[in-house]
């Protein structure tokens, strides 16, 4: 599961650090103590920045870095599409072989395919993505997705 790409993002995370944003959330993975504080900044429906601070394993850290790469600069609708495809991949229990179309959407994030075989680690990979979804709902006041409490 430890693809070169993942280790790279872990050792050299992209966009790490907290910068001003429209909303901030704090998410925890209760089973292992991974934590992330994440802020989103929107310019209309365009994602201007996703900044974060956190502690956790290589998977959760690398995943946040990949998220930053993939989502910053995108329009919300497109970002949601990416998030959904990533979620699908992570919930595939190792049974999904990413095809070209998926690789086009997920870029580096396809490296996480192997993680989906390990249920305990799927939560790590999804931590930042769930936090982003939640922060987005708060920032845009949209929808009913903020069911996870933030501290």
């Amino acid at each position: 599961m430890y693809q070169e790409v993942i280790l790279d993002h872990y050792k050299h995370p992209h966009g790490r650090g907290l910068r001003p944003g429209d909303a901030e959330v704090h998410h925890v993975n209760p089973t292992c103590g991974d934590e992330i504080t994440l802020r989103v900044k929107y310019d209309g429906s365009r994602i201007e920045d996703v900044s974060y601070e956190g502690q956790g394993c290589s998977i959760s850290q690398a995943s946040a870095s990949v998220l930053n790469d993939l989502l910053v600069g995108k329009d919300l609708a497109e970002a949601q599409k990416i998030q959904e495809v990533f979620l699908e991949l992570m919930q595939s229990k190792g049974k999904l072989e990413p095809d070209d179309a998926m690789e086009e959407v997920l870029e580096d994030a396809v490296a996480f395919a192997g993680v989906s075989k390990y249920p305990a680690r799927v939560k790590c990979a999804l931590l930042s993505w769930m936090a982003w979804k939640d922060a987005t709902a708060q920032a845009l006041g949209a929808g009913t997705d903020a069911e996870r409490k933030t501290a």
Partner: protein, 418 residues
Amino acid sequence: MTALPGLLDTETLRKDFPILERALHDGKKLVYLDNAATSQTPRQVIDVLSEYYEQHNANVHRGVHVLAEEATALYEGARDKVAEFINAPSRDEVIFTKNASESLNLVANMLGWADEPYRVDHETEIVITEMEHHSNIVPWQLLSQRTGAKLKWFGLTDDGRLDLSNIDEVITEKTKIVSFVLVSNILGTHNPVEAIVRRAQEVGALVLVDASQAAPHMPLDVQALQADFVAFTGHKMCGPTGIGVLWGRQELLEDLPPFLGGGEMIETVSMHSSTYAPAPHKFEAGTPPVAQAVGLGAAVDYLTAIGMDKIAQHEHAITEYAVKRLLEVPDLRIIGPGTAEDRGAAISFTLGDIHPHDVGQVLDEQGIAVRVGHHCARPVCLRYGIPATTRASFYLYSTPGEIDALVDGLEHVRNFFG
């Protein structure tokens, strides 16, 4: 051998149950007619239990190692199986407990500690029935004593059915919860859910159905029942001891407070305060009965492969035959419905003034296992003015030949004490 329509192939099926081969008292063959107390366990379930401990045992939910992931997958897989078995809208609505009693207490305690609109307090009322198992009486008595809520109940008709004639006075605007048994373990009565649910919904009361004697014996569809909670227990449905189920509607499980606190049920803990995991984990404190849940999953597979509708049909045929044969025994009085209509496969009776203890003992000497006593439903005995009953209860492996053996045994009892 009597041939009845709708019977299962018990000859094949009984081979799955090692205990049915047992000989008692110098070679008498076991005739097991105490299935309402607990069912026997098929080889398929016993093997799954052994395999769990031999191959996959680990604590669940917390590990990254192979065994922990296998054990977690097996445990959560059992939840999927149970959810499907009862047609639950979501697997997260299935809570594993240690038995039906814990499931029932869990609901009582949730409501005692709940916020409005669910909270049971001194201005509110709880409704049960006179035919409940003690496990669906005592938790409500405790809740009533501790909150000041008023405990009310439906009485029984002379032929062992719920007397719903005063339903509008029993279930009122003050009622917060109506808890009743789907199939009585002592009378065998199958209760009319719809009428009760309709009235409960009218006044905004929650409904808890004790399906301990239903889940093992007939198709159970929690959505069709329209209840808010359904409780049952593993050991009566070919599963191991030490495992029970509470199904509850998701919104309720989200809103209601936890009961037992500890590992597994938390989201994050500090010394000053804690937050809780989402259901079902919120209600599963500590290391769950992992192997037992897995065993229950195997039991569900076993029952499903045979078919719950076929099992219900088999038991109906057996019950019909048993009612007919038992009523041939002089001085025998059935306590409960006197026909096989709307009744389960447990038949209670008295035999003249021979005490049930003596009936049971003399039957046992012939290898026939029945239960005697008040069957954890003493108010029913009080209601019918009897100290106790003898109860024969059947399951998927019961045969007409076993009914014949029971009837012969009862003749012997009569001669012995005559």
